[in-house]
Symmetry: C2
Subunit: 162 residues, 2 copies
DNA sequence: GTCAGTGCAAACTTTTTGCAACTAC
DNA sequence: GTAGTTGCAAAAAGTTTGCACTGAC
């Protein structure tokens, strides 16, 4: 499915959601949805705000972004993550299930896929709980930071020896 | 292992960590560690602060709580979660691995254990990444909210019919 | 004695809220 | 026309920071 097709589909899903819940179909809401579905990977409100300001896109306020993103989460078109200090969001329609590796040192977030892990999670029997979605965050050190630390350690040892 | 034994052990681990990293062994730090290891489940900074104020425990400032909790995370004695708006923490030494169910409606967080899920995650081959710990958050509706929604829906239908 | 650590208050950041103006229905 | 939405600015909430003082080493 190409980007335009996805955009059309999510627009339709959103319209249905808005109708079903008695919300208005404002141009702001569609502009926000469109912008979000143009972004690959994670974004925070500030990034989204800048993106919409910069481009000749619709101009919206931060308050509207916060309001709309709640609707989009309810419509299951966006999911929210909370790495670091800011809330991060990502589109969720037509995206492959993926997990997140987060470097505890530099904060870098990498996505990865793993089908057996995915099916293990999805087949878990939950006790009186209606699953909607899930997030797996794996914390540790990315290869870059591991290397940096080794180098640092080496330098410290050398200093002591002097 | 009983609580006092755990407290003694983590105190020792923390002491080693502080020594190894050239940090001072202040009474505030030990009082914070002790309080945290008296708490079952999650807590946020504010709760921890109140706990330490109320009890005849050591009185510390919020700034010190934030500072110390970073040290405790580095010493692998505390882990951080970010459900909702506030950062949540929990002790991590001598705690069984568990996962989190989060109700998207009422925000209630429940822990559950599942060994096959745990081993599936732990046996995952990671690409150039040194695993330290992980968090699995499962979002959905708790039984209470499912029931509440059904009731609400029923009421709405009745209203429309009138 | 020195400097890391602490408490306090101010600053900063992110998110929420109140309200007047606007507009989808 | 009217009530849901928007934008703006103010407020709130959580966390970080600057600085003088304290106390661990």
């Amino acid at each position: 499915m190409d980007t335009q097709q996805v955009k059309d589909t999510v627009k339709q899903i959103f319209t249905e959601y808005l109708n079903a819940n008695g919300h208005r179909k404002t141009p702001e809401r569609y502009a926000i949805l469109d912008t979000i579905y143009s972004i690959d990977g994670h974004f925070d409100i500030d990034t989204l705000y800048s993106l919409m300001m910069d481009q000749e896109k619709f101009r919206v306020s931060r308050a509207t972004l916060y309001n709309t993103i709640i609707l989009l989460m309810n419509a299951r078109l966006v999911i929210k993550h909370q790495f670091g200090n800011t809330s991060q969001y990502e589109k969720s329609y037509n995206r492959d299930t993926h997990h997140h590796q987060i470097c505890t040192q530099c904060g870098k977030v990498t996505e990865f896929q793993n089908e057996s892990l995915q099916s293990a999670i999805e087949s878990t029997k939950l006790n009186r709980f209606q699953l909607s979605h899930y997030s797996l965050y794996i914390y540790g050190l990315c290869s870059r930071c591991v290397r940096a630390n080794k180098k640092k350690k080496l330098n410290n040892t050398n200093k002591k020896e002097k």
